[in-house]
Amino acid sequence: MVKPLELGAMFPFLPEGREVVKTYGVTIEDLVGGRSWEPARKRGFARADVALKGEELDDRISTGKEEILLDEVLSYLYARILVSAVNDSYLTKKFCLAEAKQFERRLKRLNTQEAGRKGAEGSEIAPEVRRILEYLKVAFAEAQDGRIGLHFSDYLKIAGMIGDKNWALVLQDVKRGWVRLPPEKAFRILEEAYRFRLNSELPMPISEMLYERIQADAERLAGLVKEARARFEGSGGVLDEASFPPCIKHLMEMTGKSENVPHMGRFTMVAFLHTIGYDKEGLISLFSRWPDFNISKSMYQIQHIIGEISGTQYTPPMCSTMKTYGICFNPDKLCETINHPLNYYRKQLRRSGKLPPPELRAQRAADKDGE
C-alpha cells in the first residue's frame, strides 16, 4: 500500500489529497499568501507553465520527502487556481492534457511498483488503481492475467476521444460486457477520462478577493499564454488544396465538373472547408458550380452548416460516417491512420512541412474540437 501522503501527492484529486491539506492545516489563505508556501506556489506556476509549453515536469515524488510531497499536493491546487483565474480555453486545455499525461505516468509507475511488491501473484487490480477507477466513475471488473475490464459503454465514451483506429471496439477483447485491457492500455484510457474530468472542472469560480492575492502570477501566466497562442495560431489557418484528403479532393472535382454532389457530400465539403478557414463568400463562389445552384437555398445551407443560423458550427463527419454514406473516395495509405478527414489534412500539412510541427500535444488537444 502507498502511504496516504504519497498517494495524495501522486493523485491530488483523490480524497487523500484533500485529507493531506486538512492534516497539515493549510488554508487557501496560506496557500496564496503564506511565506512558507512560496515553493508550492512556484511549483504550481511551473505546472501551468510547463503544460503551456507542452513539456514534462520533473517528478519529485520518488524522493519521498514529506515537504516535497506536501508541496506537490498544494502546487496542484495552486495551479488550478491560476488556470481558473487566467480563464483561457487554450491554457485550460493544455493544462488538462499535461496533468493527464503526468497522471498516466504515475499510474504506470505505481503499477510497476505494486507488481514488484506482490511478485508473480500480483494479478488483481491494485487498491490505488481501484480508487482512481471509482473516482473517475468508470465501471470496471477484474479480468484474468492482471488485465482490467472496463464496461464497453465507458470504454466507447473514452476511447472515442483518443480517435485512433487501434482502439476500435471490434479489435478488443470483449467478454460479458467488459473490454479487457492490459494495464498500460487501461491507463491510456484512464488518462483520457481524467483529462475530460479535469477539463469539466475548470475554470473554477475565482472570487475577486482571491484574484487580488494571485494577480501577479495570474498576469504573468496570461502573458505567457498570449505568446503561446500567437505561436500556435500562426501555424493554423493554412489553406492548401494539395493536402486535402482524397474524399474532399474527389468532391471538389465533382463540383468542378458540375456533377451533382450528393447532399451528404455537400455538407461534408462545406463543413470541411469552413473548418479550415474558407469564409462564406469563398464557399458560395465555389458552390455556384453545382448544377442545381440556387443562391438563396445554397446560402441558407451554408449559413446553417457554418453556424450562422442555429449557432452550431458543424465539422465534417468522421470517416466511418462518410463510408456509410458512400462518400469515402479513393482512400490512401494515410487514410488508414486516421478516422477523420480533418486529421488527414493536419497530418498531411505537417508531413509536407506546411504546418510547422507544433507541439503534437497541442494538436491533439485542438483535434478534440474538430470531432
Binding site: A168, V170, Q172, D173, V174, K175, R176, G177, T324
Partner: protein
C-alpha cells in the same frame, strides 16, 4: 356500386380502432420523455413531435383516430413534443437493433415465411452471441419485438448505453457485424529463437480471449480438429480446404499434413494454435491463418441495419401496435418465446369474423394462423385478419369499392424521416 375506396379506408380504420380500444399499448420505459409519431391510412402526412403525459391520453388519441403506424422515439427528451432538436433537449436513447428481411441476402427468392424464418436465425445469434455473451446483456435489459412485417427489433434499455453518441453506436454495430480486417488479428512477429537467433513467428489471439480475436481462433481450432478427424485422403482434404477458404493449394496441403500423423503431435499442434502460436508446420504461415480467419469471420459475423442503430433520434415502431402494411401486431417477445415463435400465427391480432372483399388480379397466396389462403381475383369472403392483410398489401378492396383508375393504388408512402 359506389366509386372509390372510402368504404375500404373506413373499414381499416374501424378494424384498427377496435383493436386499439381493446388493447392498450404497453407504455415504453420513460413514457413521458418519448416522442410519438403516427401515420394514417390513406394519408401521406406524418404526424410526429407528439408527447403524451400519460398512457391514457395516448390511447385516447389513438382510438379517436387510429393510426396505420405508431412509432415512438428511441430517444428520451426533456420536451418530446418540441419541433426542433435544440428545443427537444436530447437526454439519451435506447440502443436499437433492427433486422429487416428485406436486406437479407437472397431475400428476393424467398417466400414471406422463409424470409421471416431466416431473419429469426440472425436475430437469435445477435441476442445470444453478441448482446448476451459478448456485451453481457441479460434478458431483462433486452426488449425483443417482432416488427409486424419483415423483421425483428431489439431495444437495449440500459442506462449505461443511453448516452452513447452516434459514432459510438456505430462501433457497436461494427463489432456485431464483424467489420474488421482479419490482418489485425494475424501478426507476423520476429521473436528470439534458440541461441538468440531471430525467428519469424505467426501469432494469433489466444482462444480464451473475448471478442473477435478469440472467437476466430476458437473457430479455427474447431476447424483444424475437424480436418484432423476427417478420414478422407490428404489430397482430397487439401482440395476441399482450398475450395472452402481460398487457401492456396500448397498451403492447404501443408496444413493438412500438419494435421496428419501421430495423434499426440497433432493434438500438440492444435493446442499451440489455441494458445495463439500458429507456426505449426513448414509452409503454414500468416497467409494461411488470414484465409482461415476471413472464412470464419464471414461465417460468424452478425447482422443488423447500421443506420437504425447509429441514429440517436430515430422513431421506432411501438411494440404492441399494429403494422400498417400487414395488420399484424408488433409483438413483444421474451427470449424463451422466440425459439418457437411463429409470427404468422402469433402476431395475428385481429378477429376472424368474415368480411367480403374483392381481390385484385395481383393477389398472391399467403398463410396466416396456419391456414393457406389462395385469393382468386374477384369477390370472396375472408376472416377479418386475412382481409385486412390482403387489403394492406394492396391486393384487395372491400367488396363494392373500386380502385381509383389509373394507376392502381400506390404503395403506402414509406415511413421516411427516420423510422424503423
Amino acid at each position: 356500386m359506389t366509386m372509390g375506396m372510402e368504404r375500404t379506408w373506413a373499414f381499416l380504420n374501424a378494424s384498427f380502432k377496435d383493436y386499439y380500444a381493446k388493447h392498450a399499448l404497453p407504455p415504453p420505459m420513460g413514457f413521458q420523455q418519448r416522442e410519438f409519431g403516427f401515420m394514417y391510412h390513406n394519408e401521406t402526412f406524418f404526424r410526429r413531435h407528439l408527447g403524451f403525459p400519460s398512457p391514457d391520453l395516448l390511447k385516447l388519441d389513438i382510438v379517436r383516430k387510429p393510426p396505420a403506424h405508431v412509432y415512438h422515439s428511441a430517444a428520451y427528451y426533456d420536451h418530446p413534443s418540441a419541433h426542433t432538436m435544440a428545443e427537444k433537449g436530447w437526454v439519451g436513447a435506447d440502443l436499437i437493433f433492427d433486422l429487416d428481411a428485406d436486406h437479407l441476402e437472397g431475400a428476393d427468392k424467398m417466400s414471406y415465411g422463409e424470409m421471416l424464418a431466416a431473419v429469426k436465425v440472425k436475430f437469435v445469434t445477435l441476442i445470444d452471441n453478441f448482446l448476451g455473451d459478448e456485451l453481457g446483456y441479460a434478458e431483462k435489459d433486452l426488449h425483443l419485438v417482432f416488427s409486424g412485417s419483415r423483421g425483428y427489433h431489439c431495444h437495449v434499455r440500459d442506462s449505461r448505453v443511453r448516452q452513447l453518441s452516434s459514432p459510438m453506436r456505430r462501433e457497436v454495430v461494427d463489432f456485431v457485424t464483424g467489420k474488421v480486417e482479419v490482418d489485425e488479428f494475424v501478426r507476423d512477429l520476429t521473436v528470439e529463437g534458440k541461441f538468440g537467433r531471430p525467428l519469424r513467428s505467426t501469432r494469433i489471439p489466444g482462444g480464451t480471449e473475448g471478442g473477435w480475436g478469440g472467437k476466430l481462433t476458437r473457430a479455427t481450432v474447431e476447424h483444424l480438429r475437424g480436418i484432423a478427424a476427417d478420414s478422407r485422403p490428404a489430397t482430397e482434404k487439401a482440395k476441399a480446404l482450398s475450395e472452402l477458404t481460398q487457401i492456396g493449394p500448397r498451403e492447404a496441403k501443408a496444413l493438412v499434413e500438419a494435421l496428419e500423423g501421430s495423434p499426440d503431435a497433432v493434438a500438440k499442434r492444435i493446442a499451440a494454435v489455441s494458445d495463439g502460436v500458429a507456426d505449426i508446420h513448414q509452409g503454414v504461415g500468416p497467409g494461411t491463418f488470414r484465409h482461415l480467419f476471413a472464412y470464419h469471420l464471414n461465417r460468424l459475423k452478425g447482422w443488423c441495419d447500421e443506420p437504425v442503430s447509429s441514429d440517436v433520434k430515430r422513431l421506432i415502431r411501438a411494440p404492441g401496435s399494429l403494422h400498417g402494411k400487414t395488420g399484424l401486431r408488433a409483438t413483444p417477445l421474451t427470449r424463451d418465446k422466440l425459439d418457437d415463435f411463429d409470427p404468422l400465427v402469433e402476431a395475428v391480432a385481429l378477429g376472424d369474423e368474415l368480411v367480403k372483399v374483392s381481390a385484385s388480379p395481383t393477389a398472391k397466396p399467403f398463410t396466416l394462423k396456419g391456414q393457406e389462403f389462395k385469393p382468386s381475383p374477384g369477390p370472396q369472403t375472408l376472416p377479418l385478419y386475412a382481409a385486412v392483410f390482403l387489403i394492406l398489401r394492396r391486393q384487395a378492396l372491400l367488396e363494392g369499392d373500386t380502385p381509383p383508375a389509373p394507376p392502381p393504388l400506390k404503395p403506402a408512402p414509406a415511413a421516411t424521416g427516420g423510422t424503423a
